[in-house]
Amino acid sequence: MYPDNFYYTKDHEWIKVAGGEATVGITDFAQKQLGDVVYVELPDVGAEMEFHQSLGVIESVKAVSDIYSPVSGEVAAVNEGLNDSPEWVNEDPHGKGWILRIKLKNEAELEKLMSVTEYEKFVDGLET
């Protein structure tokens, strides 16, 4: 279910690191909680993000949810496809539904994130 080469947060974001950049999305657990996603508000490319700063908003039919930056750095790219197809977040949350890429400023921040086994345990604890 959850890719084992990703990092995870308690806010249910996933982070995939490659070449000094972190791709960020929300997990399958998060998209199920939100329900049908109908709008994703994305930041500008080039914006500087602090650790845990709100970097955008996901709106489903019934709820609004902030996306928090799991690392600090500069926004390198956003998933423009979500403007027309926000449903990708539901259909393929760990792939086509990625949200943005951040140029990592401080790789040490990754140590604060959860591994897949830690995240699965965390989610198990929530699903009572």
Binding site: D36, Y39, E59, S60, V61, K62, N90
Partner: protein
């Protein structure tokens, strides 16, 4: 938390259960958009057993219902229900409701779940001088709503009621899937459809039969999430959002349910005065021009002036745009008027559009 008698049916169908005013109810099964579109295009089945049912009985039952509500309850009969309201002496809403005449001495008022206790207390409190008894039967009744263009074709397989002859708001009594029921051609989605009431201990028999029979007609179970988006597209008011004890039927675009000629009722004087002087604000529909979603309580601006708040707002699954309702000063209610909605600190452009947002074409 209270459970309806259909609780296990929802679990079986993978309903995502949430708390709703003290009730554990399904918010969605397969997804709000899919369920919403099933109701618009085929059919949907809703458990609305959380609704309140209050019985008024006695020789003066009709007189009392006439006193409590602005519509003319004398027009109801055992074969005809009516949409109406409970009004305060100020002409504002205690609730909106459906009035069913079971017989000349017995009226059933179907009210919002969130208001059932408040309404019961209100109806008890105001009965002095009327020879009536009031009973809260909310826990006895189950209510199942079958909505959508295929509703009649599905329901006709399960009973001998004269569905063909039933117009809007018609009522019939009889068995549905063998369970004694009251059936009315009513609903809260903007589609054709029926609501089935029963005090049977096993309403699940009706639910299962409708799901099974409806399968080939594209029926889907529908949760509270899509119930809200459906009713908003059809511009059906939600108490607590669009109407409450600060708004009147005239302001809410429900002038048609206020019958001044029927005689006195709570709030009549104030409403009559409001009608003669003209209302100062009226409910208006808007759609967003810019991207975003307007939600309940977001501020509404005209220029630099905050004029109101959004009462209901959502992404419309059928129209595929952001829509909402708000009360606007009369001079701004004209179609095309540009307004701004403040969405999380940012102004988003919107325009006033005609209501309802959605009207069925059959």
């Amino acid at each position: 938390m209270k459970k309806t008698r259909l609780h296990n049916n929802h679990i079986k169908l993978n309903g995502k259960m949430v708390e709703f005013f003290g009730w554990e109810m399904p918010v969605e099964y397969s997804g709000i958009i899919e369920e919403h579109l099933a109701v618009r295009n085929q059919a949907g089945l809703f458990d609305v057993s959380h609704m309140g049912e209050i019985l008024v009985l006695g020789p003066q039952a009709l007189d009392y219902v006439q006193h409590l509500t602005p519509n003319n309850a004398a027009r109801t009969s055992p074969t005809k229900a009516q949409y109406s309201a409970l009004t305060t002496p100020k002409g504002t809403f205690v609730d909106d409701l459906l009035v069913y005449c079971l017989d000349e001495n017995t009226y059933l008022l179907v009210v919002n779940a969130a208001n059932a206790d408040k309404d019961f207390a209100w109806i008890e409190k105001n009965k002095a001088g009327f020879e009536v008894e009031v009973k809260n039967l909310s826990d006895d009744y189950s209510q199942i709503a079958l909505q959508g263009r295929n509703a009649q074709d599905i329901l006709k397989n399960l009973n001998d009621l004269p569905l063909d002859e039933m117009g809007s708001f018609a009522v019939a009594h009889g068995e549905v899937a063998g369970i004694p029921s009251m059936v009315s051609r009513t609903g809260y989605t903007g589609e054709d459809g029926f609501e089935v009431y029963t005090t049977s201990a096993t309403p699940g028999v009706i639910w299962d039969a409708l799901i099974e029979t409806g399968e080939s007609y594209g029926i889907k179970p529908v949760g509270l999430g899509a119930r809200d988006t459906l009713r908003l597209e059809a511009c059906l008011m939600l108490y607590g959002n669009d109407i409450d004890d600060t708004t009147t039927a005239l302001e809410a675009g429900l002038k048609w349910l206020v019958k001044f000629k029927k005689g006195d009722f709570l709030g009549r004087e104030v409403l009559l005065q409001q009608k003669e002087e003209g209302i100062k604000k009226r409910i208006a529909g808007f759609e967003l021009i810019d991207r975003g979603i307007a939600r309940s309580h977001y501020p509404v601006y005209i220029g630099e002036e905050k004029v109101s708040e959004v009462t209901s707002g959502t992404f419309s699954p059928y129209l595929k745009k952001s829509i909402g309702l708000t009360y606007l000063p009369m001079e701004y209610t004209e179609e095309g008027t540009e307004i701004d909605i403040e969405v999380r600190g940012k102004r988003v452009a919107a325009r006033v559009v005609p209501l309802p947002f959605y009207k069925r074409d059959y």
